[in-house]
């Protein structure tokens, strides 16, 4: 097991070092007639920060479902931690988009994290003390200890996402899969949560695959980008991909990539007016 890659940041764009945590070869995904992407060859190295960008309906979330083993590829192969995605699920951390819990859900903040520790095991909990210790440690790591006893239905979006990260870290993940994890947070909390993901990546050496429609909150940490559009894609460093000529070619229409104060704005996307709509659901 190769988990001690504390290097954290992989030099942008170059071939990743070490055994890849994710590898796709000649992968394609189609729903009936419609091909979302094809001929995708990709490997994500331990500790790499990999962003998946694109508009709605381009297959971003489907890409994540493939990595989680919830959706089979139409052709090609995928491996996570050198095995089938489904078999690797125990060492994958999943950070979902923030969604409110029903007000009366009988879970407290610490129970949500505990579900990441042993919620997938059968039977009832036989070593509560061990689980409690682990949960306390995880809450501490994400700075959520003070509301450990709060019911999840009363948590704010930012608080929930902190807990989601703690829950994902419970798996000792080799890779964290973040699915629009910053959506519906205000700018301040987008930054806080994004920093937390980065911090934990540096600390544990796990890779991050971050699916998002807005790259700005994470741009300073991103090593490489997979940009999906029009049934096609580009892979490379932010500087290689987020360029007017590259995206214009990808979209087949004139696209302007503007940079101001370190923020990136992609203007002229045919569908850009809708990019803040609710993203695709993981479960249909």
């Amino acid at each position: 097991m190769q988990t001690e890659t504390a290097s954290g940041v992989v030099p942008g764009g170059r071939a990743p070092q070490g055994r890849p945590v994710i590898r796709l070869s000649e992968a394609s995904l189609a729903f009936g007639e419609r091909t979302l992407w094809s001929g995708l060859n990709l490997s994500v190295a331990p500790g790499e920060y990999f962003a998946v960008l694109g508009s709605n309906g381009t297959g971003k979330t489907s890409f994540l479902k493939v990595l989680l083993g919830l959706l089979p590829l139409t052709s090609g192969t995928v491996s996570v931690n050198g095995t089938r995605p489904h078999a690797a699920a125990s060492r994958v951390g999943y950070v979902p988009q923030q969604r409110g819990f029903p007000a009366r859900t009988p879970l407290r903040a610490k129970d949500l994290v505990a579900q990441g520790v042993d919620g997938h095991r059968w039977g009832i909990r036989t070593h509560p003390r061990r689980v409690h210790r682990r949960v306390a440690e995880l809450l501490e790591r994400v700075g959520a200890s003070e509301y450990a006893d709060a019911p999840v239905g009363l948590l704010s979006g930012g608080e929930q996402q902190r807990l989601r990260i703690a829950q994902a870290l419970a798996a000792d993940p080799t890779v964290m899969l973040c699915d629009e994890a910053l959506l519906s947070l205000d700018l301040h909390h987008q930054h806080v949560v994004s920093e937390l993901v980065h911090e934990q990546r540096q600390r544990t050496g796990c890779a991050v695959v971050f699916v998002t429609h807005d790259v700005n909150p994470i741009i300073e940490h991103v090593d490489r980008i997979l940009y999906l559009a029009n049934g096609s894609f580009r892979i490379g460093t932010p500087d290689e991909v987020l360029r007017s000529d590259v995206l214009s070619e990808l979209y087949g229409t004139h696209i302007e990539v503007l940079r101001s104060n370190g923020r990136i704005l992609v203007a002229g996307r045919p569908d850009s007016t809708h990019h803040t709509d609710s993203p695709e659901e993981l479960i249909p």
Binding site: L68, G69, L70, H86, A89, S90, V92, Y94, P96, R99, G100, F101, P102, A103, R104, T105, P106, L107, R108, D111, L112, Q115, G116, D118, G119, H120, R121, W122, G123, I124, R125, G143, E146, Y147, A148, D149, A150, P151, V152, G153, L154, L155, S156, G157, G158, E159, Q160, R162, R164, Q167, A171, L177, D186, H188, H189, V192, L282, I283
Partner: protein
């Protein structure tokens, strides 16, 4: 005025009857045990029903359980088996059509009157004792035979053992299905398994409280527990305690009188719920769970880390 007072007096006399109570209790010991077993099952299953938001489905299953029991009565088969077949079948249909989707609810709404109508049809064709008919809907103090009690205990044991076996994954899948699925849990399989357990539990409850009032056993105690705590363990314990209070308490009160058991059970569980709701209302004004404010989710707070109270 005097006649009104007399009426109240005679009403109370018929509600609370304790003549020859010791003898009755000895005679109907099986019923009390059946109630205790049902309380345990109802309290446990109820917490998952609440987590999964299946209250309406429970009602629908109960109506089809009634149809099954009525059909069994008509053809002279065992009523318990009939209600079991009806409710498990209904639960499976609902499980496979997917209950979380919005159309799930309307599907239950479509299925429920059909089941009820079917049951009434069977009952009107039935020419036996009419007291049997009514008790399927509103419950009765059945003089539970040892054989019945045994089958009840066995079925309850099946439900309880299965529930314990899938406890953590089922909790995970019920409260957080997306992440549970991402963790590789068979969320759909668990959902269908739970519907079968629910079907069995409903069929058991129909015996005592009747199909119209199953919710008092499978929803109210758990809902009351959730008013009082957000801890998963405490929720389960309280839910079972409340269900036992309603069931066993209801049976003990109903033993002597001529009134069916269900009004006692439903009243006790409703009162428990009212008290729990009041406690919650008081608490919500005071507790802050260690943070600055307890705004409901959706409204943003000043900081995640929670600075000192302003």
């Amino acid at each position: 005025m005097i006649t009104a007072a007399l009426d109240v007096g005679s009403f109370l006399d018929s509600v609370f009857v304790f003549d020859n109570y010791g003898e009755l209790l000895a005679l109907l010991r099986n019923s009390v045990w059946a109630g205790a077993v049902l309380g345990l099952v109802g309290g446990l299953v109820g917490t998952f029903v609440m987590m999964r938001d299946l209250a309406f489905a429970v009602h629908g299953i109960a109506e089809l359980s009634f149809a099954g029991a009525a059909a069994a009565l008509l053809i002279g088969a065992d009523v318990v088996t009939g209600s079991l077949v009806g409710s498990v079948l209904a639960a499976l249909i609902m499980g496979f059509t997917g209950l979380r989707a919005r159309e799930g609810n309307s599907f239950v709404g479509v299925l429920m009157p059909f089941g009820l109508g079917l049951g009434i049809l069977f009952l009107s064709l039935y020419e036996g004792r009419s007291s049997n008919k009514f008790s399927l809907l509103t419950g009765q103090i059945v003089s539970v035979s040892s054989l019945q009690l045994t089958s009840m205990v066995v079925l309850s044991a099946v439900v309880l053992v299965t529930l314990v076996g899938v406890w953590r994954p089922l909790t995970f899948a019920s409260t957080d299905p997306l992440v549970a699925q991402a963790k590789g849990l068979p969320v759909r399989g668990l959902s269908i398994l739970f519907m079968v357990l629910l079907g069995i539990s409903v069929a058991l409850s129909v015996q005592i409280v009747g199909s119209l009032l199953v919710l008092a056993l499978l929803i109210t105690p758990a809902a009351a527990a959730m008013n009082l705590t957000a801890s998963p363990l405490r929720t389960v314990v309280l839910s079972v305690v409340f269900a036992e209070l309603a069931m066993v308490g209801g049976i003990l009160l109903a033993l002597g009188g001529s009134i069916p058991i269900s009004p006692y059970v439903t009243t006790i569980s409703f009162v428990l719920w009212l008290v729990s709701r009041a406690v919650r209302a008081v608490r919500e004004r005071t507790s802050s769970y260690g943070r600055t404010t307890t705004t409901p989710h959706g409204r943003s707070r000043a900081s995640v880390t929670g600075p000192a109270r302003p």
